[in-house]
Symmetry: C2
Subunit: 192 residues, 2 copies
Amino acid sequence: MELLKQRILKDGHVKAGNVLKVDNFLNHQMDVALFAEIGKEFKRRFAGCGVTKILTIEASGIGIACLTAEQFGVPVVFAKKSQSRNIDGEVFTTRVESFTHGRVYDIIVSKKFLSPGDRVLLIDDFLAKGSALNGLCQLVEDSGATLVGAGIVIEKGFQEGGELIRGRGVRVESLAIVDAMDPETGSVTFRD
Amino acid sequence: MELLKQRILKDGHVKAGNVLKVDNFLNHQMDVALFAEIGKEFKRRFAGCGVTKILTIEASGIGIACLTAEQFGVPVVFAKKSQSRNIDGEVFTTRVESFTHGRVYDIIVSKKFLSPGDRVLLIDDFLAKGSALNGLCQLVEDSGATLVGAGIVIEKGFQEGGELIRGRGVRVESLAIVDAMDPETGSVTFRD
């Protein structure tokens, strides 16, 4: 998606440790006009897939998921990162490792919100090592719903997440795949 | 907002301990069509206030904030609940107590995203004891930006948050104010 790539080149910052900071438009400050265009692109790519629900994970996936859901006319469910007193009854749960935050946590979705009749599209801002997305795939599988695919805003193509998730047989559509970045020069190289 | 009140009566569940569960449309599964109507209502109430930015807090405020931001044509910034490796540089920070989760945490916003020239509208899903909203007010004050007001989806009118925040001189617009709820009968009483 050319608009997104241009925005990454303009506003993204490459930091040491394979960090691509896009916090001024994607995951701290959020450009909802851009998110609407992202939502339209996901709709175009997953048109005709019969999506009934969008599943994401808190927190930075939620905004993109909501603007995408507007295009599909379906609800969003977000997986929560720890058991909260406000969630009662049974949940689907799995374990996820966060490399950004250096910890392991449980993600949970209430069983009320994923059913065998659902056709689920996963949405997230980043795909790097794939632990979070893999966990979301697991929750959908556990629920008996059909996994239509995953829409990712930025995939770090030099990390193993894309291979891991595609290796599960999941269709992954990434709007920008970064094949290399250099913290010295600040350069970002996209896959064609 | 009548549409919202009807939805609370239809899909909300009153639980012991002053819990109003609205997780099937507001804060776990999210009805983005309803969120769009909520956004239009906030736009109507804060029209002409010159809002330049919407500030919310992760995670359940983000969806509502994004759909509201679409109406205003401004970006969203969400306060994060703990220091993450992805946030460098200086941040505005304050301490917040979560009664739902029974813990105290820091909320942070990068100084890059709140400036004295901003006119900020706060958005959140719930106002109960007011700790989170009070923290957001503090961040805006610390930044030198102008606080236009706060748009709340559901205010628990029998708890002290509304009084606390209005007592700071902040304009609070709540789309539904619950004055009483009864876990025995499941009844919800709205303020007129």
